[in-house]
Amino acid sequence: MALSFSTTNKFLLNNQQILRSVLILSVRYKQRGHIADHLVEHHRQSPLGKLKNGAAVDAFPPKDDTTKDLRTTPHDFKYVYPDFLPNPIPYLRDRILEKLERKDMFRRRQQIDIPEFYVGSILAVTSADPYAPNRRHRFVGICIQRERHGLKHQFTLRNIVDGLGVEISYELYNPTITKIEVLKLERRLDENLAYLRDAPPEYCTFPFDMEPVKLPPGAGVPLNTIQVPITSTHWQYKWERHDLKGILLPSLPRSVRKAAERFGEPWRQWDIMRQYRTEIHDDDKAEIYEDIEKHKEDLAQYRIDSKENVKITRARPKAAGRKAILDNSNRSNMSTSK
């Protein structure tokens, strides 16, 4: 049974979700009033559409069937750009839809620098908020999860503010986000750190005025092998059942351990189809990576052009003094402590 493999909340897979996904699958293959998926591309590229006065289909460049050298595409770019992964549900995919979506994504990436970050990195996100002082809202937190594909890509930051755990979910391509800074770039042993909710508070408290940690150039992304103890009595999900490497479980009763073994699905390590679905297919890989490379060139050119056009008038600010700096820092502290 092929369930949806988007990364949304793997811990909670209740009957409703299972039934719904089964219904969608069973329903998909007996639809009327639609054209088969493999015929859509055929019609887009068929010469019968290119008539003299028709030209309705003139602008569909056929997909390059020439085998591209896939060795030039880095094997790990799906980790750096997880938002470019295709829709995990295959029958909801469409080539033109993805192409237009990617265009919008690249245009947005020209306006704001979207850095490389992973689950476990500490980010500071500034977004435009008409209700906040200075009309900017800044939040610092550890990235717990990254979900969904394309323009809908979201990431969640967690922090503890005034003793209260706060999680804010941001859409990566939301136009009101003014700045995304990576204060500490690192990876963790798991792809989803929702267990931090049941961990002691010191594991997800980060000061708002944290200084960015600079890595030496050329260094890889460091892996933090920390093991978080789960101490609270009531757990949100049954952490022992999911193969989480970054947690330190307390001693559990025998029945719980046995149930975890049953639920654990040890055969998943040989599930090739599941691994296949989390990868970008070779047919799409070259196309996506080509677009990314072109975007990088465009971005470099855009930055050169914008620098030439903008006259940089460096005016030395009036002696602000220590008082102004202190006032600013106080104001920012007040805004974040809510």
């Binding site: 009033g33 003299k52 839809l97």
Partner: protein, 415 residues
């Protein structure tokens, strides 16, 4: 098409006609004997429930009826050598590339867009691609459905005098307000190889000079918006910011119970000791009436019926791929499903069109804009374009939570 009309006309001529001189209900455009009036006229309007009961049952067209042209043909093994197969395919492409289009003599004379009497433009046949999120200039997110218009051509036009409405409206309520006023335009999408179809079906497209189409629909239009057969239709037939009605066949869920079909709450789970009542409907009768009322909601087939969504805004148009970005994620139908798109018939949206401000009439012709090239992407005014700088929302005025203090109160406070 012509054969179908002939059979219809011969059948109706045998029925007794009304005395034309005495009837005052006929419109002035009646042309002699070709105009066949409705013999059975209902005086009272049907109530909503009566209409629902009449048309609740899904009526399928009978494909074995001789009114319809047999469509699918070929498919047998003709035992052709591989070289000849590719040769035949090339021949097919060449015939349609070199075929004389009826448009070589130029399009028909363009009608004029009028408000009174009302003008109805053609629609367009598209394919649903999927949904995407977009943002407006205030930073609010909404979802849009992408609909691609692949390979649309006008196939046929019949003037109002040649149409008998009663034969066309067998499965849905009769549109008596349009009777006699509208002509019928047949639009086709997705060109195909003629070897897949029968000779009769291929003959429908000879007048238009286009390859046979996979899907045909009809649109009722006023005679001033008639288009010559063979004209292609593009996404720029509409404008950004205009509103559109969308019609498609909804997703087929099959035989479903009452909980999924009508959203009934059902019963408790076995945990609470519920005996044999989890997803049932419950009672089907009322205490007094000794019958089950027609229209009682019960399990049955769900979906797979024509659904109309009205008043969807067009946010963006991509002219390169002929894609419309329509408001909302819930355009009916599965992915890659056919969709009929027409100008909105909602009252407030029809009022937006004036004699000077109306969409391209009768349709968008690329030759009109040959001097200036068309932008690849067209946007509505309120949408956020991703090549614009980040939305800072600085110009949004936020009303204070507490009301400002009046002069009397300040005076009181001072005391």
């Amino acid at each position: 098409m012509n054969r179908a009309l002939q059979t219809v006309c011969t059948r109706l001529f045998t029925r007794p006609l009304l005395n034309l001189s005495s009837s005052s209900i006929l419109p002035s455009t009646a042309v002699g004997i070709n105009f066949i009036p409705c013999a059975w006229i209902r005086r009272e309007k049907l109530t909503d429930q009566q209409m629902r009961l009449r048309y609740k049952k899904l009526h399928w067209h009978k494909f074995y009826d001789d009114k319809w042209v047999q469509r699918r043909g070929g498919g047998w093994d003709e035992k052709i050598t591989p070289e000849n197969v590719s040769f035949m395919q090339e021949m097919v492409y060449e015939t349609y590339a070199n075929k004389d289009s009826p448009l070589k003599d130029g399009p028909w004379q363009r009608g004029k867009f009028t408000i009174d009497p009302e003008t109805i433009r053609t629609g367009v046949l598209g394919l649903k691609l999927g949904t995407l999120p977009q943002w407006d200039k205030r930073g609010r997110k909404f979802y849009v459905t992408l609909v691609q218009i692949i390979d649309n051509h006008v196939i046929n036009y019949t003037p109002p005098e040649m149409i008998n409405f009663r034969t066309l409206f067998t499965t849905r309520p009769l549109r008596r307000d349009l009777h006699g006023k509208v002509g019928m335009l047949v639009v086709g999408a997705l060109s195909c190889d003629p070897r897949k179809f029968t000779r009769g079906y291929n003959g429908l497209f000879e007048q238009a000079g286009v390859p046979p189409k996979r899907k045909l629909t009809r649109f009722f239009i006023t005679p001033n918006s008639a288009i010559k057969p063979g004209t292609p239709l593009y996404a720029t037939h509409f404008r950004c910011g205009d509103y559109v009605d969308v019609q498609a066949r909804s997703i087929d869920y099959g035989f479903q119970g009452v909980m999924r079909r009508y959203g009934f709450r059902g019963g408790p789970s076995d945990k609470y000791g519920s005996t044999k009542f989890h997803r049932k409907r419950g009672t089907i009768g009322s205490g007094r009436k000794h019958k089950v009322l027609p229209g009682t909601r019960m399990p049955g087939f769900m979906g797979n019926k024509l659904v109309m969504m009205k008043g969807l805004k067009i946010w963006r148009i991509n002219t390169k791929y002929n894609v419309l970005y329509l408001m909302g994620p819930s355009v009916p139908g599965p992915n890659h499903g056919y969709i009929r798109i027409q100008d909105s018939t909602l009252y407030e949206r029809k009022k937006m069109f004036t004699e000077t401000n109306h969409p391209p009439f009768p349709t968008y012709y690329p030759d009109d804009n040959k001097s200036k090239s068309l932008d690849e992407e067209l946007f509505a005014d309120d949408i956020y374009r991703f090549d614009q700088p980040t939305l800072t929302l600085d110009d949004i005025q936020v009303a204070p939570l507490t009301a400002p203090r009046t002069a009397a109160k300040t005076a009181q406070k001072k005391k």
